[in-house]
């Protein structure tokens, strides 16, 4: 039978990175904590890929972004100097936190696909006994959400 304390720890870990977005502490990276929630949700999320702009077709987006379909609008512009091409995306309507997390992950995966041709896979990976402690489950939750959180 699942230990409710451990399940709760994983949930808390999963929420922890998201809550960091709301803090204003020195040295803690925040996506847009000073914005009001509506403005934060409408911000363009942007990655820069090291490809010329004519190699990034907004009509033929990598699968992770394409999967979000008409819910998002995408803007592709050349980056200054030799930095490549900026790929920006945002939802057309007010998104949930989960939506924004999905967009972050899609942008990151799309950048990898465009630059390296693959999305890095991590599992299965070798590991020893995973002791089911609250701290361990907390970290499991953090890691499970790490692609969907951050300053992007």
């Amino acid at each position: 039978m699942a230990n409710p304390l451990l399940s709760r720890a994983a949930d808390v870990g999963g929420a922890l990175l998201g809550r960091l977005q709301d803090l204003r502490l020195p040295g803690v990276g925040t996506a847009s904590a000073k914005d009001d929630p509506a403005r934060a949700a409408r911000r363009w999320r942007v990655v820069t890929v090291l490809l010329p702009a004519d190699r990034v077709d907004p009509g033929d987006l990598p699968a992770p972004l394409a999967a979000l379909g008409d819910r998002i609008e995408v803007r592709v512009t050349p980056a200054p100097a030799d930095k490549g091409t900026e790929v920006a995306a945002r939802y057309r309507t007010a998104p949930s936190e989960e939506d924004i997390g999905r967009l972050r992950a899609a942008l990151r995966a799309s950048k990898q696909l465009l630059e390296t041709g693959e999305v890095l896979r991590m599992d299965p990976r070798p590991h020893g006994e995973r002791a089911q402690t609250p701290a361990g489950r907390l970290l499991d939750g953090v890691v499970a959400n790490a692609k969907k959180e951050g300053v992007l």
Binding site: G27, G29, L50, G117, M122, P126, G128
Partner: protein, 389 residues
């Protein structure tokens, strides 16, 4: 296979774990021949990097033989004897193309963690916590090496396993500091820390032309190695005032370049040490920066201070006024391995750079917990424990 796993704060275990698999086309699987302790592992072991999960395989400085190759690998083949960069680099993002390999955009699959800590994500590192990707480490019989064409390098026939091993991280980290710290011919370079990285920084400073190199530590056996193998002068900071000694050695100017190779668990005598220990234990600062403070204060006006030791987050009582008013350049970096490993292997092949003396304790993987104990407590003259899986 056997592997060394983190089992909790200050607890290591040797366990049977599944073997790694090719997961991406650019992967190779390596049969590990040598893998070594690194001072930065101690931060994981001690719990100062709180992103370790019980069961994680540790180890990031290693070399071995390629035994399996992904279908997208072009430069490596089964049977190659290679040394591997500890940080994982895709080779195609802007940072990799500009030789800042440890800043790779694509190699850390957990970017949300480090973006929260540092405002940007950096590259992943093999065997170095879930903050840096959660890769299984090299203290194992086999290890997966992603982007193998970028991060693995064939070892020349004339370079032994024992020598090549330290190109993986210690020497390449040191070269990062010497190069980006701006060491030039005729410079006086001071290096804080006489561990593997510090000794390599001292030797490489001499190789690129530094006229005088001074190494600072408290452990006599390490200072002796710095004198013998790097040709450095040495200062024991427990018995000598470091800043006064450096002033006297440099005509009152101070060193041109100061390289800090100590990191977040710096020891320091007197009230400063007590202050840092208390604040770190109370989690009011994450790191103990005594060596960086001393380097900033000792450095000549207009000089360069480079932090090679690993720091996690926040420090207290940092002499920003000295930095600004003396016109110093402060830089830091994790290791840009692929930028330096080819040249290091050339230096090793010509016997200009020797590293075998760092491996003071060589033992089978099954004895790794004892090796880490010797390494952590600096017992029996341990500079590095090397494991032979």
């Amino acid at each position: 296979m056997k592997a060394v796993t983190w089992a909790g704060v200050n607890r290591l275990s040797v366990e049977d774990v599944p073997e790694p698999q090719i997961l991406n086309d650019h992967d190779v699987i390596l049969k590990v021949r040598r893998t070594t302790t690194c001072g930065s592992d101690l931060h994981l072991l001690s719990g100062y990097v709180p992103f370790m999960r019980a069961g994680d395989v540790i180890g990031h400085e290693f070399m071995g033989e390629v035994v399996e190759v992904g279908k997208g690998v072009r430069e490596r083949e089964v049977g190659d004897r290679v040394v591997v960069a500890s940080f994982v680099s895709c080779g195609t993002c802007w940072y990799c193309r500009n030789e800042m390999f440890s800043l790779c955009d694509n190699s850390n699959p957990n970017p949300g963690i480090t973006e929260g800590l540092w405002g940007q994500s950096v590259g992943g590192c093999i065997g170095y916590s879930h903050a840096l990707g959660g890769y299984a480490g090299s203290h194992a019989e086999y290890v997966r090496v992603p982007y193998a064409d970028v991060g693995s390098f064939v070892v020349p026939d004339g370079v032994s396993d024992d020598r090549a091993l330290f190109a993986s991280d210690a020497a390449s980290t040191a070269f990062t500091g010497v190069d980006l710290g701006g060491v030039q011919a005729g410079d006086t370079v001071a290096v804080w820390g006489a561990g593997g990285v510090g000794q390599m920084a001292a030797r490489l400073s001499a190789i690129v032309g530094a006229e005088r190199v001074v190494v600072i530590d408290r452990l006599p056996e390490r200072l002796e190695q710095a004198r013998t193998y790097a040709g450095a002068q040495t200062i024991d900071y427990t018995t000598t005032d470091v800043a006064a000694e450096l002033r006297e050695l440099t005509g009152g100017r101070g060193p041109d370049v100061c390289i800090e190779a100590v990191g977040m668990e710096a020891h320091s005598p007197g009230p400063q040490g007590v202050y840092d220990q208390v604040k770190q234990q109370l989690r009011l600062q994450t790191d103990r920066p005594a060596a960086v403070r001393e380097a900033v204060m000792a450095c000549r006006k207009g000089g360069s201070v480079f932090t090679l030791g690993v720091f996690a987050s926040m420090v207290d009582k940092f002499p920003l006024g000295a930095l600004m008013n003396k016109g110093l350049t402060l830089r830091g970096a994790q290791v840009h391995g692929p930028r330096y490993i080819p040249r290091l292997l050339e230096l090793m092949e010509r016997d200009e750079l020797v590293t075998e003396h760092l491996a003071t304790h060589v033992m089978p993987l099954s004895e790794a917990p004892r090796g880490y104990e010797l390494f952590k407590e600096k017992q029996d003259g341990c500079v590095r424990a090397v494991f032979t899986p």
